[in-house]
């Protein structure tokens, strides 16, 4: 009988580069920046790392394939390095590999690092790329905002909302994240915005406008994980433990079976249920004190809060407008600015979320420090509403 990951592995240290349009920085520069912070935080030497998981989402515009770019950039000591790619869930996927390796006893100390260099394409937005030989023959040529705009239209139809009401709630999501990002020196976007700016911005993919989209950023984040015993032996206190690590991957039901209506994210519902069970959470609304969710677009965050059980189904608009997820709300969301403002270097995002939770739980989040954080939930969504990968991790104080 599987017992789950809860409290078996702790975070020894973490690092995160400044996110943004890092024109002057190579992928290796970004990796080193995150790694150096992480090593210093851990207080260990590079050669104590026994295995590594390397996440990069988009090969063609990034570092290329395989684990080599990480091993070379960090001059790792010929240890096993595994390259992982699972779209926007890539960072959490790398973390999952490292955590499972430690939990299994295969190694004592493991590294997870994600990186993405998105600003070498020559144009804004995510790179245009292949979906595979067969999909390319008939899939619409959908951009990421185009894909997630589907969620807005499906959600609006299901709950009989008018366009303006939904757009206003979407605007609040972005205004909140910009306010949070303004307090984060590592964030890509650090300026506050107004609801009017969001509503009046040009459409990218109706109803998603410019300010409904997250930043497309260069960046890297990493974690070194170990067992609670080793962390203590290294003199670490206030240990942050992994409480749950779940992944749910679409099997084609949403895209091809009549049972899905396009108004929610089936994978998020499934992964969150499993994660709550693994972490022993019965009342998420009360027990989870902060969330970092995959706000690639404002509508994604709004619907995700329902799918996580942090807002009632169909009432996400009210929950958002009531300020439930604002920094001073009941369940602060994206306290670091989120994908929206911290930025979204695909392969690094999952680790960036855990990084923020880790800092908050250790009381090291500076101007944006929450009063009494307990459990932090991180949510990634790779792909499209109708076909996606959802990863959820929950971290909290070791008990």
């Amino acid at each position: 009988m599987a017992t789950g990951i809860k409290d078996k592995v702790v975070i020894l240290g973490m690092g995160c580069s400044k996110f943004g349009e890092r024109w002057e920085s190579s992928p290796a520069d970004l990796m080193v920046e995150a790694f150096e912070e992480c090593l210093a935080d851990c207080g260990i030497e590079r050669n104590q790392i026994e295995a590594a998981w390397f996440g990069a989402g988009i090969d063609a515009f990034n570092v290329g394939s395989s684990a080599l770019p990480l091993s070379i950039a960090l001059r790792l000591n010929y240890i096993p390095v595994t390259k992982v790619e699972n779209m926007c869930a890539t960072g959490t996927e790398a973390f999952r590999g490292a955590v499972y390796a430690v939990a299994s006893g295969a190694c004592d100390i493991a590294l997870a690092l994600g990186v993405e260099k998105l600003k070498d394409t020559g144009y804004g937005g995510l790179p245009q790329r292949t979906r595979g030989v067969e999909n390319d023959m008939y899939w619409p040529n959908l951009s990421a905002p185009g894909a997630f705009a589907q969620l807005a239209s499906g959600y609006r139809a299901k709950h009989h909302l008018n366009k303006d009401d939904l757009k206003r709630a979407m605007a609040h999501v972005s205004v909140k994240s910009h306010a949070n990002g303004a307090k984060n020196p590592k964030a890509h976007l650090q300026r506050e915005i107004t609801e009017e700016q969001v509503v009046n911005a040009p459409f990218i993919a109706e109803p998603i406008g410019l300010f409904d989209c997250c930043g497309v950023s260069d960046g890297s984040a990493c974690a070194i994980v170990t067992t609670p015993e080793i962390a203590r032996s290294l003199g670490k206190e206030n240990l942050v433990a992994v409480k749950a690590l779940q992944l749910a991957v679409s099997n084609g039901t949403e895209s091809s079976h009549d049972s899905w209506d396009g108004s929610y994210l089936k994978t998020t519902r499934i992964a969150s249920h499993r994660a709550y069970a693994e972490a022993g959470i019965r009342k998420p609304l009360e027990e989870i004190t902060m969330t970092e969710v995959h706000d690639c677009f404002s509508i994604t965050e709004l619907v995700t809060m329902e799918d996580l059980g942090l807002a009632e189904e169909g009432k996400g608009v009210n929950a958002v407008l009531d300020g439930n997820f604002d920094a001073d709300g009941k369940n602060p969301c994206q306290i670091d600015g989120g994908l929206k403002c911290f930025g979204h270097p695909i392969g690094a995002s999952g680790l960036r979320m855990i990084y923020e939770n880790y800092l908050q739980l250790q009381g090291r989040a500076g101007a944006r420090q929450l009063a009494n954080p307990k459990l932090g939930l991180n949510h990634n969504l790779g792909g499209f509403p109708h076909q996606n990968i959802c990863s959820i991790s929950i971290v909290g104080p070791l008990t």
């Binding site: 067969e134 619409p140 990218i204 091809s256 079976h257 209506d261």
Partner: protein
């Protein structure tokens, strides 16, 4: 005896204002202003002779019930492929039987009438289709640009439920070069209009028609419909007078509403005549080009009860005005539009992979599970029903004629599209199944969740690097 049993036509929805064309070009040719009245049909960026042929043939087949088709001939001078049989693509998009005879007939403005004669004189026992489709390119600011249009038409031939029977057929083969397009040329090269009229139409057509009428025992006064495809406005009437045909029998070439649809014009106008014909009416159909074909048809009693699914009159009404001449130039590659870096992505088609998915891509065939009855598209190894998931359990199931409902949608302005924004979304089909797919012909504000859509075979992408184009099915909002 074999005769015409059904017909269907297709005229692209977009109708370009000729005034817009004339005004844009009058700075160098003021005479264009005299042609700047009315409109002409223009292909959308995702239409060509193949997609229009499919639409015309579907309209024709829809009149016919479940008749098997033994042969499909496609006539055009603008085949998208010079070496890949275009009629086979049309046939597969129609999911016709693979044992049928197919043929492309081109290289002349009388390609369609010659194809029609070949089928009428053939030994086919069953039903056959003659489809004619044309998407001609002409130089920007040319008279042709204002006189031509894009369209397709289809006639079904057979021996049962004949609505027009053959009275006689004649042909004159004569290398009279009114215009030509050589292997290396992008556009037609033509000679003086008055010479073409006097030495071409006025001489060769009477030669053939006189013989035809003599052999058929019919006098010219008896002709009820005279079809002379040409972009010369006055020539049909002049020729009718010379032949002794009543003036009101001349079938209008639709210069002010559609434009002359090249090799498809004869069949398009035949469909127009059939729509108006009464039992016993005589139709004289001419095809002109390197000589001339003449086909004399007589409407039967069955024409009185024949109802086309889409004839010329219905096709004329399904229109959308286009006043943006630049859009027309861009769609026809007459200017090089900046497509942005997202448009630069390589669009290679991997032919082996394409071949594996041909039933989906061309036929729009999905699957129906024998175990649980769930219909689905695309058809994969395991049934998509979570309660079933049976292996290799799906029979082919066509979605081409299924209506759907828009479940989700967007207008994407970030992604590359020849006619942005790119509309796409999830379509839920009647009877089950759903697919994320492109929409086409969307007018701003006309789409929302709940809109009803029908399926249409269109161009999906161009691979300009390799001269290939991909086709797939798209959703069109039903009016």
């Amino acid at each position: 005896m074999t005769g015409i049993t059904a017909y269907g036509v297709y005229i692209p929805r977009a109708r370009l204002s000729k005034q817009a064309v004339a005004e844009a070009n009058a700075w160098f040719d003021a005479s264009l202003l005299s042609l700047g009245k009315g409109e002409r049909s223009i292909c959308n960026w995702d239409e060509d002779s193949i997609t229009m042929a499919v639409e015309a043939a579907r309209a024709c087949l829809a009149c016919m019930g479940d008749h098997a088709i033994d042969a499909l001939y496609l006539a055009s001078t603008t085949f998208p492929f010079l070496d890949r049989q275009n009629s086979v693509i049309v046939s597969e998009a129609l999911s016709l039987d693979r044992t049928q005879r197919t043929m492309d007939i081109g290289a002349s403005q009388r390609a369609a009438t010659s194809g029609l004669i070949a089928l009428l004189e053939s030994e086919h026992k069953g039903n056959t289709l003659l489809v004619a489709s044309e998407h001609r390119r002409s130089k920007a600011g040319s008279r042709a640009e204002l006189l031509w249009g894009d369209a397709a038409a289809c006639v079904a031939l057979g021996s049962q439920n004949v609505i027009a029977e053959v009275v006689g057929i004649e042909t004159l083969a004569d290398d009279f070069i009114d215009h030509y397009r050589g292997e290396e040329a992008e556009f037609d090269y033509d000679w003086e209009e008055r010479w073409i009229r006097d030495e071409g139409f006025m001489k060769s057509v009477p030669l053939v028609v006189d013989t035809l009428l003599n052999n058929s025992g019919v006098t010219s006064e008896e002709i009820d419909f005279f079809i002379l495809p040409t972009d010369q406005a006055r020539t049909p009437m002049g020729l009718a007078q010379k032949l002794g045909i009543e003036g009101d029998g001349v079938v209008d070439n639709q210069l002010a509403s559609v434009g002359v649809a090249g090799a498809a014009q004869s069949i398009l106008l035949l469909a127009k005549a059939l729509e108006a014909a009464k039992p016993g009416d005589l139709i004289l159909l001419i095809g002109f080009g390197q000589g001339c074909d003449a086909i004399l048809l007589r409407a039967t009693d069955a024409i009185a009860s024949f109802k086309p699914v889409r004839g010329v009159s219905a096709a004329l009404l399904a229109r959308r005005e286009e006043t943006n001449y630049n859009k027309f130039l861009s769609f026809n590659r007459l200017i090089e539009r900046d497509i942005g870096k997202r448009g630069e992505v390589d669009r290679q088609t991997y032919l082996s992979g394409y071949n594996r998915r041909k039933d989906l891509l061309t036929g729009f065939i999905g699957g129906k599970c024998r175990e649980c009855g769930t219909v689905q598209i695309p058809r994969e190894n395991y049934c998509v029903n979570p309660e079933c998931n049976a292996l290799d359990s799906q029979d082919p199931y066509s979605f081409a004629d299924k209506k759907g409902t828009v479940m989700t949608w967007t207008a994407d302005r970030l992604t590359f599209d020849w006619n942005p924004p790119a509309y796409f979304g999830m379509v839920q089909f009647e009877g089950g199944g759903k697919l994320m797919m492109d929409f086409t012909e969307v007018e701003e504000g006309s789409i929302d969740s709940g809109s009803i859509v029908s399926m249409h075979f269109r161009i999906r992408q161009f691979d300009s690097q390799r001269g290939f184009r991909k086709y797939f099915w798209k959703a069109v909002i039903e009016e």
